[in-house]
């Protein structure tokens, strides 16, 4: 399995840096190779093509979000608490990894529809976990049982995503994590029974 070989993650991490520092369209394969300290051709021993690198970047890094969210869900908290922790986790991971934030919020979105669809498929795993929290809250009476889960999920994710993207476009000029309480209050208000 390629993913276990040392150079795989080396190239993925190099891609994040190269894309963050040069922008999506200026992150040529040769730049990623140079950043990773390997030859251009070596890239193709680990990835099928450039698209495969980008998908892998998203996949590997999205894993952090998913793993954390799974841990949150397994806790004994209320659905509301889980949602709050999810928001905090999301903002925290991106706050503490600004290269990654730039790549996921700005640069990777410049990719074409084909790549975007594959990225969305990876994102789905995360959104399914979010749905679990919402459904749990609806079932136990914390959240409005009449609401449409899909719309609610799109509100929660869309809100977080818009706030994070704006923060990145503003060059991280303010503290993102401090926004969490205000976001939580608004969203819980929207969802509550």
């Amino acid at each position: 399995m390629k993913r276990n070989k040392p150079k795989y993650m080396q190239i993925v991490d190099a891609a994040v840096i190269a894309i963050a520092e040069n922008g999506y369209h200026q992150a040529q394969v040769s730049k990623i190779a140079k950043q990773a300290g390997v030859a251009d051709g070596t890239i193709y021993l680990y990835f099928k093509n450039k698209e495969d690198i980008l998908i892998s970047v998203f996949q590997e890094k999205m894993g952090i979000f998913v793993d954390n969210l799974q841990a949150i869900i397994k806790s004994g908290d209320t659905a509301s608490d889980k949602l709050c922790k999810m928001i905090e986790n999301h903002l925290h991971v991106l706050s503490s990894n600004r290269h990654l934030a730039t790549v996921t919020q700005l640069e990777l979105r410049q990719s074409n529809k084909e790549i975007r669809l594959k990225i969305n498929a990876i994102l789905k795993e995360y959104l399914i976990l979010l749905d679990q929290i919402l459904i749990e809250g609806m079932l136990n009476g914390e959240f409005n049982q009449a609401m449409d889960v899909r719309i609610a999920r799109q509100m929660v994710f869309g809100t977080i995503d818009e706030i994070t993207t704006t923060w990145v476009m503003n060059d991280n000029r303010y503290n993102l994590l401090e926004q969490a309480p205000k976001i939580q209050r608004l969203l819980l208000n929207a969802l509550k029974a």
Copy 2:
């Protein structure tokens, strides 16, 4: 003034179609020209370069949203009603113009940072009007007076944007406008005093 000559809008409209049908990176100037029924060179009598076409597309089409929203704001409705109408208007314009929806939600986002920044500047006009509604509601007690306007605006816009983008990525398979009541209920709930 070039913008008033008939070929200006002819080319802008052709660009929307060419981009929607071919994708951002496959919408070459020659394709736009062909779609507009003019020679390649004619494009450059009305636009400085290709970037200028793209910016103009966004500007001209965003004008529809802004004009409608201004009319909504001038009505004697409550802030809640205005917000509901704004949501309906947004979904309606994109629902009834699927080429435009594809272009604004998917294709134009593949543009480089420079164009993105100019697009954001145009979008700002729309967001300022949204802020006006939110502030009006806070002042007259409809909305929570303690909330952060910027976060609230990002929630409203992020929610609509996420829902619309998902709809476009799902190839408009369901009726977008029918989602409006569910969205309005959630968002009003979030904002209410």
Copy 3:
């Protein structure tokens, strides 16, 4: 006859200015038309094509040199004196008309072989007059009777041309006409019997 119509010379003069100020390759027909105060299309009522403008510029302006040289030849001077006056005249005309100097010494030389050949044909008239002086001097014993007239003519013209071109490339930083005595001394020395 087009040459007698007022706009003919108006366009020729505009071409000299447009070429001198913008450079050969940046002196588009539209710039020449603008400088002449006429519409682009009007140019084509007086000239067959752009090449025709350039040839005409050279032809009309070269006339000044030829007319002056003919007057010099008709004087009762010695061949040596005529040669000296020819040199002075050449430097004087270009010194006092820097736009023209730039155009003939630098810009028009960027034209392609076809135009250069036509320019050379026009230049020939001037060189034939120069030959007359040289032959007169050889016949009356002022100049070396064994020398090759063509080589001598190329030396005289090549020297003046090189000196003038260098002066233009140095942005006319020194007084060109003051160089005349030094040039005359060298060339007369070369030619003398």
Copy 4:
């Protein structure tokens, strides 16, 4: 160092042929690449852009003139002999390399001002060596000590250049090298004390 790799000179030589056979403006990069037997993209592994190819052509080929002239200067000859040899060398190199002659005397002169200035800077090295010969002759009494070295140099170079250019424009119809004695006689006469 790129200049030492075999493909560098291969491309430079191909450029001379492509320009001589097609003319400056018709010598597209793809033609040069084809002539060199490499892919278009390979050109850009060795040259920054097309301008860089043209400058390099002049630089590499001018090197022949400069190297030969340096050898001539190092000989124990008189200044007069050195000047004669310089003239012969100049005519000889161009005579025996007609493609190069066409390129330097006609085609490369169609380049824009920027390239012309860089070409002139390269030419300067050659002209400085010519100055050395002239100064040597003035110091040892062979040449007129009162003459202006710059004017003398411009006469020598201008004469050779005019004669060579005329020969090229006449499609090399006569033997250029046979003109050397006549040129030498005239120029030495001009310079002598």
